[in-house]
Symmetry: C2
DNA sequence: GGATGTATAATTGTATACAAGAAAACAGGA
DNA sequence: TCCTGTTTTCTTGTATACAATTATACATCC
């Protein structure tokens, strides 16, 4: 979406494995060996190794010396992620407001419009993707790499949960109102408001998540 | 310090390059090619590549397609790092207090004692290392991997700045008082206090940093 | 002298070969 | 049957080989 270099095999393997682990396709505790993945993916060990090392750095897997064990995302992780986002993402929105360009304003406008569109279509999968784009865009538009690098991986890790959440129409309709309010604050240049609305939005999402996990546990 | 597996060549190359970049030995903008590093480090391309990929993920270098350009740490990065730490590190201290074990209490006690020792020796380099250990220990003792994984890389990135800061006796003596107060709160089980003291400690460090950068700029 | 096309260098991405260490399988003896 | 020592297999870490791409240098033509 943002990069135009042709993706290498290592990138492709990484993205596939990352998504499969986050989605729970590889259950926690499963052992992945390089050779098994070579067979399954049809590429050599070199790109497999590179992908595994990146997954390790994101702590989605851990090296055991004899294969990599899948760690996945725990409920504790989800809670910590939301606590961190609640404290940082407002900062991202602040910088997004300060540093946004006309092009960025258009991009963000497009994203919130797409959200309405997919909501009307009851398309939870695409809603999740656009939700990703919205929160990631706020990071990128702020142009502060440390903040972006902190938040974007956390967004990816909540992918599975958010997909579930966006199947709840009542909650989603609220989410979208909040997103639009944040969007308005950003494009109108009210950085403090954008920051506060974003913090509140994440706090709400966190509360909703806690409720949900409690009922399912 | 925490892991006991024999470090691979890739680990060694990574640690050396990471430190050299953070310390500014490789200036921003310098182009590192795999072959040059093979010559300089005396190992093959495989571990070099692995190290470069990790540095890329930490955004200390960026791939240009024809060598990797050194990015390093900007003053903007430093400010963002302190803003993030100010918002998160209290959380780490909270969990450290809640989850600490007797062994952890001993470890932390040892660290604060070492601090006094190196302070009395005017040993800024070791003071910096122990400062690292103190803040990293609070993360590890909390046993919340997402929080740890968020903060520890940020500690590493401020290594160079903190070394400078710890050469300032007045500031360092304050730092050490604050550390000891945090330590007391943690071992006495007062999680809320540990959290507040930590947040305040980072806020103070941030203010001190801003002052310092202003005077040098 | 300048532009252009070609050959050459440099650089990375990927695949594979080799070695070392650890675990598992297995054979033999009590 | 159970223990023990040995062999085999599995898995990784590292080095190297090969291919493709891109930049550079160079020669040739005008």
């Amino acid at each position: 979406m943002r990069e135009f270099k042709t993706t290498s095999l290592a990138d492709q393997v990484f993205e596939k494995l990352e998504n499969d682990i986050i989605q729970g396709i590889y259950p926690k505790g499963e052992i992945l060996t390089e050779l098994k993945l070579v067979d399954r993916m049809g590429v050599s060990r070199t790109p497999i190794r590179e992908a595994l090392r990146r997954l390790e750095q994101e702590r989605l897997i851990a090296d055991t010396g004899k294969g990599s064990v899948v760690l996945g995302i725990t409920e504790e992780d989800l809670l910590d992620i939301m606590n961190i986002r609640q404290r940082i993402e407002g900062l991202a929105a602040y910088y997004a407001t300060v540093n946004i360009t006309d092009e960025g304003r258009k991009e963000l406008a497009h994203i919130v419009d797409l959200q309405d569109f997919y909501f009307s279509k009851h398309d939870a999968e695409n809603l999740r993707k656009v939700d990703d784009q919205f929160h990631d865009a706020i990071c990128y538009l702020g142009k502060r790499t440390v903040i972006t690098d902190t938040l974007v991986p956390l967004h990816r890790k909540t992918r599975r949960y958010r997909k579930l959440s966006l199947e709840d129409r009542g909650r989603t309709s609220l989410t979208m109102k909040e997103h639009r309010a944040i969007y308005e604050a950003i494009v109108s240049g009210n950085a403090e408001l954008a920051m506060d609305l974003t913090t509140q939005h994440i706090a709400n999402a966190k509360e909703h998540m806690i409720e949900r996990l409690k009922n399912n546990g």
